[in-house]
Amino acid sequence: MKPILYIILSFILIPIAGAKSFAQQEQLQHMCSLYFSPEYISDGQEYFAQLKPDQKIEFRTTFYGDNTYRIVACTSVRKGDLVFSVYDTEKNLLFSNASYDFSQYWDFKFTSTVTCIIQVDVKSVKFTPGYVMLLIGFKP
């Protein structure tokens, strides 16, 4: 009987864990969308990543000149502050929300086209597993 019980347990736990992760993603989507006002058009993507110990998450994107963008960053980690920093490709820091109370969204007006590196991290006393999500939109 015992092996059967273990098998049954596995079949129950696997979908539960999957559902939990999916629920966290949905919760993040909802949270991030709150800061994404309708005047901004999404770039059609959701940048989603799982946090890992001692790792930052980054990507590179190009922002066009004469355009205003909104960047929204959210995390499922509650006991931590989400830091998002924007660098140019020469690693000059253009902005970090860590200097401004870790506010989750900021608007960026570019006079010229600039390729940027966006780095995301969660500052907490000890590592807590979770997810981060970023949304980018532009003002038409």
Partner: protein, 304 residues
């Protein structure tokens, strides 16, 4: 047989414990964040931590809508022969081509919509509906979405917002269902069509701003190559597309970029960062012509 069964059982036990552990950790109590204190010191670039890319691997590329918006802003007249004909739909029998063309038609709709070509837009919505159904993306492009579009057909901004939301939903769905390569193809198709439209119009108008915008596609192209590379051996058609992109990237290497950092201005009250850094693109007519020809060849392979 019994020994195999026991081994399998042990694996399942370990798996179950791991999952149970994960579940317990995830369900752990949580409270509101601790009181936050503003840090006024500038954060220095962190070079010690390991850097990972966003694990959905959907590298961002600039939105195709912006390309269309620039063309309109610069007073370039609309050209109906630039978009992919909706009658080509029947030619797309593979998932590869369907996904790429879903991206292409998405950009076409933006182009038509920005020029307020409502009657021409309607058949394209039908094409998007068909392709999204065939690709299993019906939850993103659902009946509610199309009904809302029809209702707001004459509202240019509303259509753009809804299209962007649907593509975002599709992106999210594909990521959750481990179909990232399809998301990559949709993005790729959208980018190809934007570049095609920009090249055609730049060649005709010699508009400097549009030519610059073409030159600025160097990094987005690098991102696309990186995005598609994991699928190089999936099917021969992936390899062919990536090889064509690599060949195109060589042409972009000939474009000169000048960049100078300027300190940004931060408007705390409005939460607005004015990025003052300046960039300049120097692109010769030779490069415009070569890139234009190469992107047309790539596009023809996809829409044909």
């Amino acid at each position: 047989m019994p020994s195999v069964f026991n081994k399998g059982t042990k694996i399942l036990v370990v798996l179950s414990l791991l999952l149970a552990g994960f579940f317990v950790v995830s369900c752990g109590g949580s409270s509101d964040s601790e009181r936050k204190t503003p840090i006024r010191n500038q954060v220095k670039p962190d070079t010690l931590s390991m850097i990972i890319k966003f694990d959905n691997s959907l590298f961002p590329i600039p939105s195709p809508y912006q390309a269309a918006a620039l063309v309109k802003k610069n007073g370039i007249p609309f050209e109906d022969n630039l978009v992919n004909s909706q009658s080509n739909l029947t030619k797309y029998t593979t998932t590869f081509k369907k996904a790429l063309n879903l991206g292409i038609y998405g950009t076409d709709i933006s182009y038509l919509n920005i020029y307020e070509r409502t009657p021409e837009t309607i058949p394209y919505l039908t094409v998007i509906k068909k392709l999204s159904e065939e690709l299993g993306l019906i939850n993103a492009f659902d009946e509610k979405f199309f009904a809302s579009l029809e209702k707001n057909m004459n509202n240019r901004d509303s259509l753009l917002v809804q299209m962007a939301q649907a593509y975002r939903k599709a992106d999210s769905y594909l990521r959750s269902n481990d179909r990232k390569e399809m998301g990559a193809l949709i993005i790729t198709g959208g980018w190809i069509e934007s570049l095609h439209i920009l090249c055609k119009l730049a060649t005709k108008s010699s508009d400097r701003e549009i030519i610059n915008r073409i030159g600025e596609q160097k990094y987005p192209l690098d991102n696309l190559i990186e995005l598609l590379t994991p699928y190089y051996y999936k099917e021969p058609e992936y390899a062919k597309l990536i090889d064509a992109f690599i060949d195109l990237a060589y042409e972009f290497d000939g474009i000169i970029f000048n960049y100078s950092y300027r300190e940004p201005r931060i408007d705390v009250e409005n939460k607005l960062i004015q990025v003052n850094s300046e960039s300049r693109v120097i692109m010769s007519e030779y490069h415009l012509k070569t890139i234009s020809n190469k992107i047309e060849l790539i596009r023809n392979q996809i829409i044909g």
